[in-house]
């Protein structure tokens, strides 16, 4: 009997962590064996209600549960936000190619995140931290709209204490009590302690942010093949069959969702 590709496996929401006003992290325990590579995504089903794609934000080396950090923006995410602990959910996947860690070995890694875009990057950071000896250094530049919109507030200070790791944070708009940097994330992409000839940049955030970060990185001298972008598209099946997430000759779900800028630079309107 062949597997039914549309059928989700059962899981339960084990814990809910409030990150910001409209972002929560859901700790989900699958009832069957489930694993993913960092950067791969899942389709999360609210039974009888709907399904939406998310990239787990947890450490892929942790097998028994996965974290999914979700911003309340649409029909499904709103219902997820209203869900209580122990709610049954479904998981399909993992889908997509994920981050090519093997290409990052021996390199200076620059990670640029915007808003809830830090979620998939946290999973990547955990993977890098677990093998930190393999990488020259890891520089995280993270931008949020306001100090209140920063996610993983307690974890970030811990990350900056890890050997070879540097963390920079900025907010678009400051507020009383905020002593950190104010400005778009592109403004902290200067005097970067990375060797451009040997660096890889990984970017995840809203399309408008990625567009300008990508421009900035090219300006700094990054090669298009060394910039990895997480492309956001409407995805329904996750399997390259339903058609929705087409990006030029690719399907974002099966060929991505992470693409190098080199792969997609000739496709018109990629930031639309």
């Amino acid at each position: 009997m062949m597997k039914n590709i549309y059928s989700p496996i059962e899981a339960a929401i084990e814990d809910i962590i409030t990150e910001t006003q409209n972002i929560k992290t859901f700790v989900i325990r699958p009832k069957e064996e489930f694993s993913f590579r960092t950067g791969q995504f899942i389709e999360l089903t609210l039974p009888g209600i709907g399904e939406a794609p998310f990239t787990p934000s947890s450490d892929p080396n942790v097998k028994e549960k996965i974290d999914v950090t979700i911003m309340n923006v649409g029909k499904v995410t709103q219902r997820v936000h209203n869900a209580a602990k122990n709610t049954a959910v479904g998981i399909r996947g993992p889908y997509g190619k994920g981050y090519p860690l093997e290409q990052f070995a021996g390199r200076d890694i620059l990670i640029v995140g915007g808003g809830v875009g830090l979620a998939p990057l946290r999973s990547l950071l955990f993977s890098l931290f677990a093998d930190i000896d393999k990488y020259n250094k890891v520089v995280l530049c993270y931008g949020a709209r306001t100090p209140g919109d920063i996610i993983y507030k307690e974890a970030i200070p811990q990350w900056s204490k890890i050997r070879k790791v540097e963390v920079r944070i900025t907010v678009d708009v400051g507020e009383p009590g905020w002593n950190g940097h104010v400005g778009l994330v592109t403004t902290i992409l200067k005097d970067l302690p990375v060797d451009l000839k040997n660096a890889k940049a990984i970017v995840c955030g809203p399309p408008i942010m990625m567009k300008f970060v990508n421009l900035k990185l090219l300006d700094l001298g990054f090669a298009p093949a060394d910039i990895y972008l997480s492309m956001e598209k409407n995805m329904s099946c996750g399997l390259g069959k339903c058609g929705h997430c087409r990006l030029g000759r690719y399907y974002t779900c099966k060929d991505g969702p992470v693409f190098t800028y080199e792969q997609i630079k000739d496709i018109p309107e990629i930031w639309e």
């Binding site: 062949m2 409407n234 399997l239």
Partner: protein
């Protein structure tokens, strides 16, 4: 082993009738033609012993409708369905070569790639394709423009070519071979003269169709990918979308279009995934949570439909996803003609160059 057989009409009718015992049998039926209009053919489930209607050209419905439905339940979760649905054994008559070509796209989507759609695969296994040569064409038919012939040479189990008072029956697969063996009393090996006569009839039709298409000045098959890339920013899309009413008819009636949307439903304790055909001409097709929409306007969506067919599939499968059946042209209430869109691009690119 013979590959081509002959069966007199009354024999073939008996054969078709007997198939009903083991299969759901779908055959073409003529729809009453309005005077002055082309006759239309549609699939019906064969219930009585009516003689087989041989459709001179393709039927109204796309072949894909036998394999994915407009909306259907594709999974029950989290408690498995009591009895998994059995796929009934099915024979489909009246398929034309354009349908077989189009179906390559469906097979590519649902049988290849990352994972196989098991239900589709089972339906495919349980279905026998009995195609037929075209012996006429509709005014919108333009298969030859895509190097698709009006008679098949692959992809069928059996193929019928009308000849005198009967049919030549060509075996195209093991399934077709089995059928001939099981019902051998209805078939006799074809004679060389009959096969030559078939060849002659086929050539005659190709020549008639060529004559029909010549004045249309259709674009060359090999040029379409270039048209998509160089014509991306031309005003053709804007011009042709003006009459689009976003009905999705062009997609749903298309032999190659395959997009679908998954939805969830709850009935009692049982949760289900539904799969419904979707159309890239719908405003929310590419919309993401939060409201961003890369295909906000009709111009973008019309172009998306074309680049999928003529750029994406050329890159990913090596063939354009159009078989020249003309169904989308007939279906469009806005009279958007795929042939004219391509010609307009070709004209403007030439002017630009």
């Amino acid at each position: 082993m013979h590959n081509v057989y002959y069966s007199q009409s009354h024999k073939l009718n008996e054969f078709v009738s007997r198939l009903k015992a083991d299969f759901r049998v779908f055959v073409p039926a003529v729809k009453l033609a309005e005077s002055g209009k082309e006759a239309e053919y549609t699939y019906i489930r064969l219930a009585d012993d009516a003689p087989l209607v041989f459709n001179p050209y393709r039927v109204i419905e796309p072949l894909k409708a036998f394999f994915t439905q407009f909306a259907e339940k594709v999974a029950g979760y989290f408690r498995p369905d009591a009895a998994p649905k059995q796929e009934e054994k099915t024979v489909i008559f009246g398929i034309k070569n354009c349908d077989l070509y189009g179906h390559k796209i469906q097979d590519f989507v649902f049988l290849e790639g990352v994972e196989v759609d098991a239900a589709y695969s089972l339906r495919r296994e349980n279905t026998i394709f009995i195609s037929g040569d075209c012996n006429d064409f509709k005014s919108v038919c333009h298969c030859l423009a895509w190097d698709v012939l009006p008679y098949p040479f692959e992809g069928f189990d059996l193929n019928l070519s009308p000849l005198n008072e009967g049919y030549l029956v060509e075996v195209g697969s093991e399934k077709g071979r089995d059928l001939i063996e099981r019902y051998k009393e209805y078939f006799t090996p074809a004679k060389d003269a009959q096969i030559s006569a078939r060849k002659q009839k086929r050539e005659n039709l190709v020549n008639r169709l060529k004559k029909h298409l010549l004045p249309q000045n259709l674009v060359a098959k090999d040029s379409v990918q270039k048209l998509m890339r160089q014509g991306y920013h031309l005003d053709t899309w804007q011009q042709f979308m003006l009459t689009c009413v976003e009905c999705g008819g062009c997609n749903f009636i298309c032999d190659t279009c395959h997009c679908f949307l998954l939805a969830d439903e709850k009935e009692g304790q049982q949760n289900s995934k539904l799969r419904a055909w979707d159309s890239c001409q719908y405003v929310n097709y590419a919309r993401v949570a939060g409201g961003a929409n890369p295909l906000k306007i009709r111009t973008q969506r019309l172009r998306f439909r074309f680049t999928k067919k003529f750029d994406f599939f050329v890159d990913n499968l090596g063939i354009p996803a159009c078989c020249g059946c003309g169904r989308c042209i007939e279906a469009c209430p806005g009279k958007i003609d795929l042939r004219e869109v391509l010609k307009d691009l070709a004209k403007k690119i030439e002017i630009k160059a």
